[in-house]
């Protein structure tokens, strides 16, 4: 990603090659991002507008005045976009939310791992609670989607239940000896070659920037 951001002009192609190599080696799921039509529609619009619309005309394609400089700029921008998309989607595919929470805990968000765990475990009971609230409202003759006041009351009821549950969960955690001050951040996976790979990538980036 750093290579895609830092390498200017046609050297974006090198960044794309690096991102594609890393994706093939470590996170092939990242290629799924390229099947998203939105990315290609935007790239097509960018290329068409830069070639025929925004760029200064230098030649003509049939009856249409075209800008080869604009086309070149569009291709370079698209290469950069694909490289960044591959890198970012790869990161998202390989790093789980739990590991992300662990990383964030290490930079000052203490207790985030515990909080995410509690939130994840609360989802089914909250969904059940919301459904019961809506069912109760309907059985009492109201349809929340047609009457805004009922929707507000249903929201207040669901939130009240959720906050009361939070008090119970907090009490249970404290009884079990949990304390945010004493909690350890979620463990992170370390590979044998992580350091080596990091150094190799830093050296590659430096070589790409300096040559």
């Amino acid at each position: 990603m750093a290579a895609a951001v830092l390498l200017p002009g046609w050297r974006a192609l090198l960044a794309l090659a690096l991102a594609a190599c890393l994706a093939v080696l470590f996170y092939r799921a990242a290629f799924r991002a390229l099947s998203h039509p939105g990315l290609w529609v935007f790239i097509a619009m960018l290329l068409v507008s830069l070639t025929f619309w925004v760029g200064e005309p230098t030649t003509s394609l049939g009856p249409l005045p075209a800008s080869l400089t604009g086309l070149a700029t569009g291709v370079q921008m698209s290469l950069r976009a694909i490289a960044i998309t591959l890198a970012v989607r790869g990161l998202a595919a390989r790093v789980s939310p739990g590991e992300s929470a662990g990383l964030l805990e290490r930079v000052g968000f203490k207790g985030l791992g515990f909080t995410v765990g509690v939130a994840f475990n609360l989802l089914p009971s909250m969904e059940r609670s919301v459904r019961q609230t809506l069912d109760t409202a309907r059985l009492r003759g109201g349809h929340v989607w047609r009457r805004p006041r009922l929707l507000r009351l249903a929201a207040v009821t669901a939130l009240t239940t959720a906050v009361r549950r939070a008090e119970d969960v907090a009490a249970a955690a404290e009884v079990r000896g949990f304390s945010p001050e004493r909690s350890r951040p979620l463990p992170l996976r370390h590979g044998r070659y992580d350091l080596l790979l990091g150094l190799a990538l830093a050296a590659t980036l430096a070589a790409l920037l300096l040559t």
Partner: protein, 204 residues
């Protein structure tokens, strides 16, 4: 940022609520390509986060709620989750900024300020994402496209600016409403929580 166990669990509750709205309503709205879906989701999400701030009135609480919601969004069934995750965290950050600028009091002003700032991100988000992906040149392309379109259609380019201003104002108004809803909902919840548990809704 130091929170007690109860603070963390309350943050989890409101983060789970925002996350579940994003995972269900958000996935559906994005799949259906509903216009201004980002604005609607921001409004709902920010009002949930700011309601959470009523119960955990400490610096960083709204940011933590947004981080929890963003991490839950990673489990969403929708294909594209990274952009919404960035949007959720940025909205949390801007809401914190608004609360800080408003003096972190539990009065209406900081809530309105936080809501307006946070929801305005829904307008900036596409430009930010495209700027990161395609480089800052994309902004110049937008500006020149707008100028050329205005010339071609024979209207003043200032009209485009006026349309953009109206859209920004719509975001600010939705943000103000989100802040207002949050403080109203927070007060109502506080009253309900003081009442005995049997007076509430059926426990799930």
């Amino acid at each position: 940022m130091r929170f007690s166990t109860k603070d963390l669990v309350t943050i989890a509750v409101f983060g789970a609520l925002w996350g579940s709205v994003e995972m269900t309503l958000g996935a559906w709205l994005h799949a259906a390509n509903v216009p201004f879906s980002g604005l609607l989701l921001s409004g709902v999400g920010v009002s949930i986060a700011l309601t959470g701030y009523v119960f955990v009135p400490r610096a960083g609480a709204v940011l933590m709620i947004s981080l929890v919601a963003a991490l839950l969004k990673a489990f969403s069934v929708g294909g594209v989750v990274l952009e919404p995750m960035i949007a959720i965290v940025m909205e949390g950050l801007l809401a914190e900024l608004g609360l800080f600028a408003g003096g972190r009091r539990r009065t209406v002003l900081p809530f309105l300020l936080a809501g307006a700032l946070a929801v305005s991100w829904a307008f900036v988000q596409p430009f930010f994402t495209q700027g990161v992906l395609f480089g800052e040149g994309v902004v110049e392309i937008y500006a020149r496209t707008v100028q050329k379109a205005a010339d071609l259609l024979g209207f003043d380019a200032t009209m485009v600016v006026a349309i953009l201003v109206v859209i920004v104002l719509a975001h600010v108004v939705v943000g103000l409403c989100a802040g207002g809803v949050a403080i109203g909902l927070g007060r109502q919840l506080t009253r309900r929580l003081r009442a005995p548990a049997s007076a509430g809704a059926p426990d799930g």
